[in-house]
C-alpha cells in the first residue's frame, strides 16, 4: 500500500484521481457541462468529461447516480446512490479478491473493474437485493447455518458468486462450486464452510424451496 502511494507520488497521479476524471474539471463542472453529443449533434455518441446523471438498474429498481466518466460501478454503488449501497466491498481494487463481486445480467463481475457508464441499462444485482424483506435467500440462509463467515468482509462477494452459479446451475457439483468461487478470497479461511453452504443451498434450490 505504502509502496503504491510512493509510486503514485513519484509519477504524480493516482488511479483514484484518474478514475474520477483527474480532478481537473470536477469541481467546476455542473451536470450540463457533460459533453454529450454536443460537439457532434448528428450522433448518439455519449461523451463524458464531467459528472453526469445516469440511471442504474439495481436490484429491480432504478437509481439515479451522478457519475464521473471514470467512476467504477463499485464507487457508484458505494458513494453515488442514495442511500448508498455499501454491501459491495472494496478491498484490492484490481480484480484480485472478489469482495466487490456483483451480478450484471446474472453474471458475476468485479465492480471495481467496471465503469458505471458501461453498465447503464444493464440489470445489476448486489448483496442488498438477495433477501426478500426479512426472508434470507437460500444461499444466505445456508451461509448462516454452515458458519460460512467469520469477519464477514468477503461474504457479500461470495454470496453473489454463489448466487450467480446456482441460478444458472442449481445442480452444480463440488468441482463447479469450487471453480465458481475461485475468484473470491477469504482471509479468515472459511472456504470449507462456504463450499458446504453452497452445496446445501444447491440442494434446497433443487428441492424447490425458494
Amino acid at each position: 500500500m505504502t509502496e503504491r502511494r510512493v509510486e503514485e507520488e513519484r509519477r504524480g497521479f493516482s488511479r483514484r484521481a484518474f478514475l474520477q476524471g483527474a480532478g481537473g474539471v470536477a469541481a467546476a463542472s455542473s451536470l450540463t457541462e457533460a459533453v454529450h453529443a454536443a460537439q457532434d449533434p448528428a450522433s448518439e455518441v455519449q461523451r463524458m468529461r464531467g459528472p453526469e446523471e445516469v440511471e442504474l438498474r439495481v436490484n429491480g429498481g432504478t437509481l439515479p447516480a451522478t457519475v464521473e466518466p471514470r467512476t467504477t460501478l463499485l464507487d457508484a454503488l458505494r458513494h453515488r446512490v442514495d442511500p448508498p449501497l455499501t454491501g459491495t466491498k472494496l478491498v484490492c481494487g484490481e480484480g484480485a479478491c472478489g469482495a466487490c463481486t456483483v451480478l450484471v445480467d446474472g453474471r458475476p463481475m468485479y465492480a471495481c473493474m467496471l465503469l458505471a457508464a458501461d453498465v447503464v441499462g444493464r440489470e445489476i444485482r448486489t448483496v442488498e437485493g438477495l433477501a426478500d424483506g426479512d426472508g434470507l435467500s437460500p444461499v444466505q440462509e445456508a451461509f448462516c447455518e454452515k458458519d460460512g463467515l467469520m469477519c464477514g468482509f468477503c461474504t457479500p462477494g461470495f454470496l453473489m458468486s454463489a448466487t450467480g452459479l446456482l441460478e444458472r446451475k442449481p445442480d452444480a457439483d463440488a468441482e463447479e462450486v469450487r471453480r465458481a468461487l475461485s475468484g473470491n478470497f477469504c482471509r479468515c479461511g472459511t472456504q470449507p464452510h462456504i463450499f458446504e453452504a453452497v452445496a446445501e443451498a444447491g440442494r434446497r434450490l433443487r428441492e424447490g424451496g425458494r
Binding site: R4, E7, E8, R11, F13, S14, R15, A17, F18, L19, G21, A22, G23, G24, V25, A26, V35, S43, E44, V45, Q46, R47, M48, R49, G50, P69, R70, T72, G93, E94, G95, A96, G98, T101, V104, R107, P108, M109, Y110, C112, M113, L114, L115, A117, D118, S161, G164, L165, R179, A180, S182, G183, N184
Partner: protein
C-alpha cells in the same frame, strides 16, 4: 491538462468515427481486466478513453469457411458457452477456461488479450498455433494481419491509433490436425502463466506433415516456435526426434526474461519439458 474524456459509442461506426478524430494516445477499453489494473498501478497515465464494451456488433462467434470468426469483444465466458467454438477451436476454449476466475472470464475479451500483447497472455499462443488472423478496422477501411505480425513485441502491436480490432478469424481445421494446449502456472485460478504451450500438427504415414506451435511467457510476447516445425516436418515422431525438437525450440525460439515470477533458465527448462510432454501426447494421438 484537460480532463480525460470517456466516449461510449453506441455503434461500431460511431466508435470508428470517434477514433478517427481522437488523440493518438486514446485508449480503447473492452473488458477492462488489463487496463483497470494498469490504472491502479499507475502505469498508464490519464488519457481519453473510448469504451467498446457496449458494442454488441463486436460480439459473437460465427462460421466462416469451415473455420470461425469471432468479434473482438467475445469473452472467455462466451467461448466457453459456444458449441461452434468448441467444435472448431477446441484448444482456444481450453485456454479460455484457464483465464482467471469466473468474474474475469465474464469480462476478459479475445481482443483485449491481443491488445495488451502481454508475454503471459493465454489466448495469444493458441491463436498463433491455429494460424489466426486479426481484422483491424478504421473509418477508412480494414486490413487482416496474421497474429504473428500483429504482435510486434513486449506489449506492442501493429494497431494504428485510428484502428480497432474488429474480429479474429481461425481457419478451418486441416484434416486430421491434432492439437494440444497446456498452461503451467502456480495455482489453478487467477494465476499468471509461467509457460503456455499450444501445438497444432498433422501426421500422415507415420511422419509429421505440418507443425505449428507457439508459446507464451518465454519471450517478450507470445511467439511461434519455428524450430519445432524445422526439426519435425517430414520426420517420424520417435523419442529422440521429439527430444531434439523440444530442446532446440527452447534454445532457439525462446527469449525468456528473469522477473519476479521466474528466472529465464527456469522458463527455458519448463518450456522444453512441457513441449516434450505435449509432443509425446500429440504423437500418441491424444
Amino acid at each position: 491538462m484537460s480532463a480525460p474524456r470517456v466516449t461510449v459509442p453506441r455503434s461500431l461506426d460511431e466508435a470508428l468515427a470517434a477514433l478517427a478524430g481522437a488523440a493518438p494516445e486514446t485508449l480503447l477499453l473492452a473488458g477492462g481486466t488489463d487496463l483497470m489494473v494498469e490504472f491502479e498501478s499507475g502505469r498508464t497515465a490519464p488519457r481519453d478513453v473510448v469504451s467498446l464494451w457496449r458494442l454488441d456488433e463486436l460480439r459473437g462467434v460465427r462460421d466462416e469457411g469451415g473455420g470461425l470468426r469471432m468479434g473482438a469483444l467475445t469473452t472467455c465466458a462466451d467461448l466457453l458457452g459456444s458449441d461452434l467454438a468448441r467444435a472448431r477451436a477446441d484448444v482456444l476454449v481450453d485456454a479460455a477456461a484457464e483465464v482467471g476466475a469466473v468474474q474475469i472470464q465474464n469480462r476478459a475479451t479475445v481482443g483485449g488479450n491481443l491488445g495488451t500483447a502481454s508475454p503471459a497472455a493465454d489466448l495469444n499462443p493458441v491463436l498463433l498455433a491455429l494460424g489466426a488472423t486479426v481484422r483491424l478496422r478504421s473509418a477508412s477501411g480494414s486490413r487482416d494481419l496474421p497474429v504473428e505480425e500483429f504482435l510486434t513485441g513486449y506489449r506492442a502491436t501493429a494497431r494504428r491509433p485510428d484502428e480497432l480490432i474488429e474480429s479474429i478469424a481461425i481457419p478451418a481445421r486441416p484434416a486430421g490436425e491434432r492439437r494440444r494446449f497446456r498452461k503451467v502456472g502456480t495455482r489453478r485460478a487467477q494465476s499468471i502463466s509461467k509457460v503456455v504451450v499450444a501445438l497444432a500438427a498433422t501426421l500422415a504415414d507415420g511422419r509429421f506433415t505440418a507443425v505449428r506451435a507457439a508459446a507464451g511467457s518465454v519471450a517478450p510476447t507470445a511467439v511461434l516456435l519455428p524450430s519445432l516445425a524445422a526439426e519435425l516436418v517430414g520426420q517420424p515422431p520417435d523419442e529422440a526426434r521429439l527430444d531434439a525438437a523440444a530442446r532446440r525450440a527452447a534454445r532457439d525460439d525462446a527469449a525468456p526474461i528473469d522477473d519476479v515470477r521466474s528466472t529465464a533458465a527456469y522458463r527455458r527448462l519448463v518450456l522444453q519439458r512441457v513441449l516434450r510432454t505435449e509432443l509425446g501426447a500429440l504423437a500418441a494421438g491424444a
